[in-house]
């Protein structure tokens, strides 16, 4: 099959840009799963809801989508904190089955809450600062996607800095390594969990605000984001920010190549195929997992 070089380069560029966003969305989950070992199947629904809140604020306040971050960031921190206290805290020591069951319940609840509030039609943000496109030779890069990718990478490295250099970050990593020892060293583990859960949700809010500059949202959007995040966590493992970013980029490029050489309709299939193969042959992830 003949494929033009331009098309290939364009799809790889798109893949790299979207890969950064995948990594940012998955980082929220990697943080929550890595620190408190809780299995959250509703992660994608958190993303979907954040996208709706971005749409709602942008629409009702008449401000560009990316500015709503000023509100969604704190709102989502509180949301995460409350969800932790109401739901996750109850099953934090329970077997995996209970955690999966309860978060699937949360998934059904959030999905239909969005359906009841905003109906089934896809919604998109009306105004954004990030318009226009840049021509790099033959490759066309929309500004919205470029800025989103840059913001994603910056947030990821900011988070890396927080986890490695601040007192808070060190106590998070200590809790992740050994919860009991950290508790004995004076870390308030339960509060730490709630804060980390809130922080993970805030990261989602950042991603969602920028995703909405170039995508629509519907109540079923969450399933894809949730599975995708788990794929990245499985691949990048808990190897920290670099592992997650690398996995996100690999998946983005794989998707781009698939679109070039096969059929755009099957673009997500290749991601899950890679996922199944990684689980079979590299069960510890490409970049190390416990």
């Amino acid at each position: 099959m003949f494929v033009s070089l331009n098309l290939l380069l364009q799809n790889i560029a798109n893949g790299l840009l979207i890969g950064c966003v995948y990594a940012l969305v998955a980082m929220g989950l990697a943080l929550q799963f890595g620190v408190m070992n809780v299995i959250n199947f509703a992660h994608g629904e958190f993303v979907m809801l954040a996208m709706y809140i971005t749409f709602f604020l942008s629409f009702s306040l008449g401000i560009p989508g990316e500015l709503t971050l000023l509100f969604t960031f704190p709102i989502y921190f509180v949301f995460g904190y409350v969800v932790y206290k109401l739901v996750i805290d109850k099953v934090i020591d329970a077997p995996a089955v209970s955690q999966i069951g309860i978060t699937i319940g949360l998934l059904i609840l959030l999905q239909n809450l969005a359906l009841a509030a905003w109906k089934a039609e896809p919604k998109a943000v009306q105004s954004t600062f990030l318009t226009g496109k840049i021509n790099l030779g033959s490759v066309v890069v929309p500004v919205s996607r470029l800025v989103t990718a840059v913001v994603s990478v910056v947030v990821l490295f900011l988070l890396n800095w927080v986890l490695n250099k601040t007192y808070f970050g060190v106590s998070v990593r200590a809790t992740s390594d050994d919860m009991r020892a950290a508790a004995l060293m004076g870390v308030n583990v339960r509060r730490m969990y709630a804060v980390v859960f809130g922080l993970g949700c805030s990261i989602i809010a950042i991603a969602a605000a920028f995703i909405m500059t170039f995508q629509q949202v519907n109540p079923l959007a969450g399933l894809t984001w949730g599975l995708l995040s788990w794929v990245i966590v499985a691949m990048g493992g808990l190897g920290g920010v670099t592992g997650v970013l690398a996995s996100g980029l690999i998946l983005g490029v794989a998707e781009g190549l698939e679109i070039t050489f096969w059929d755009p309709r099957a673009s997500t299939a290749i991601i899950y195929l890679i996922f199944i193969l990684v689980l079979w042959f590299k069960p510890k992830g490409l970049f190390g997992r416990r």
Partner: protein, 326 residues
């Protein structure tokens, strides 16, 4: 097998036989209970892998979809009767499950990773059938409209499907009882409690998990074929990962490893949800499922062992004599 173990099954089935006459053969109500029975069959089958073996399989959507497509393709392309198609559906599902399951168990996937690998297989198959134009493709393919025909297994009302699914549910529960009583059942329970210890004692953990998976996927594939017959068409959306999630959560809420309470929970929760759909669901779409999600969460928070422990407590309360004897 102890005949006494089958008594509740007979009562269960006989009571359900009278449901369509009680509903006055109203097509809408019968359709609702038929769908409830479909879920009950799949949840009851899921109990073998999820409840006994403790493996959180989220592949139900894949097996249902393969069931739809195996039966549908045989019928549409080669005019093969669904009676054969239904069995073929089960076999195709078993084959797929065996490949996925063999690799998953061979490479030691557990808990969430097994769950994710199986749900990923649902999405892969859905996209695969979307692209595969000869068999699938983005358009619905309709089954021949030959109502009242035994050969084509198509009926103008839903009552015959209700009884076919009821028979399948009875078979599924019977297999549950049989597995629970057999060596396989004890092997599976041992694997669920502690896989390493079970293997130390000579249980072939991989093989017994694979057997459980194959039984479950056969029943789910057959149920999927019936699902396509009721719907009257086949479409890639029948590879539905929300079926996977719902079946697993109903199995967990029902109580892992309990034989009657997962299907019973399906009846209770779906009836409530359908009641809400018909009363307030018309004003606000999705409100019945909001309630459904809340009930699932609250149940798991307050009764982590699932509804089976609640049923057990109730039965002990009202039958104190049995407790003294037993």
């Amino acid at each position: 097998m102890d005949i006494d173990k089958l008594k509740p099954l007979v009562v269960f089935v006989v009571v359900l036989c009278f449901l369509p006459p009680i509903l006055g053969f109203n097509n809408y109500y019968v359709l609702i209970v038929t769908y409830i029975l479909f879920y009950a069959v799949v949840v009851s089958a899921w109990n073998i892998i999820g409840g006994f073996a403790g493996q959180l399989d989220l592949g139900a959507g894949a097996y249902v979809g393969l069931g739809c497509y195996a039966m549908g393709t045989l019928l549409i392309k080669w005019n093969v009767t669904p009676w054969i198609g239904i069995i073929a559906s089960g076999i195709v599902s078993v084959f797929f499950a065996a490949v996925i399951g063999y690799a998953a168990f061979r490479f030691g996937l557990k808990e969430v990773w097994y769950a994710l690998a199986t749900i990923a297989s649902v999405v892969v198959l859905q996209k695969f059938f979307l692209v595969w134009e000869e068999v699938g493709g983005p358009a619905e393919r309709y089954l021949p409209v030959k109502y009242g025909s035994i050969y084509y297994l198509r009926f103008a009302t839903y009552t015959p499907y209700y009884y076919i699914l009821l028979a399948l549910l009875a078979i599924s529960i019977f297999i549950n009882i049989w597995v629970r009583e057999s060596k396989l059942g004890f092997d599976l329970l041992a694997v669920r409690e502690n896989e390493e210890a079970a293997e130390m004692l000579g249980v072939d953990a991989r093989m017994s998990k694979l057997k459980a998976l194959m039984i479950y996927s056969f029943l789910t594939g057959v149920a999927g074929a019936l699902y396509a017959l009721i719907a009257g068409y086949i479409h890639p959306s029948q590879f539905d990962n929300s079926i996977s999630l719902e079946v697993a959560v109903l199995g967990i809420v029902g109580g892992l490893g309990s034989i009657y309470s997962p299907p019973a929970s399906v009846f209770i929760l779906h009836t409530l949800s359908e009641y809400l759909r018909s009363t307030i669901g018309a004003w606000i779409p999705g409100v019945h499922l909001i309630f459904y999600g809340v009930v699932l969460m609250v149940t798991l928070i307050f009764i982590p062992e699932g509804l089976s422990s609640l049923f057990k407590k109730l039965s002990l309360k009202y039958k104190p004599s049995k407790r003294e004897i037993g």
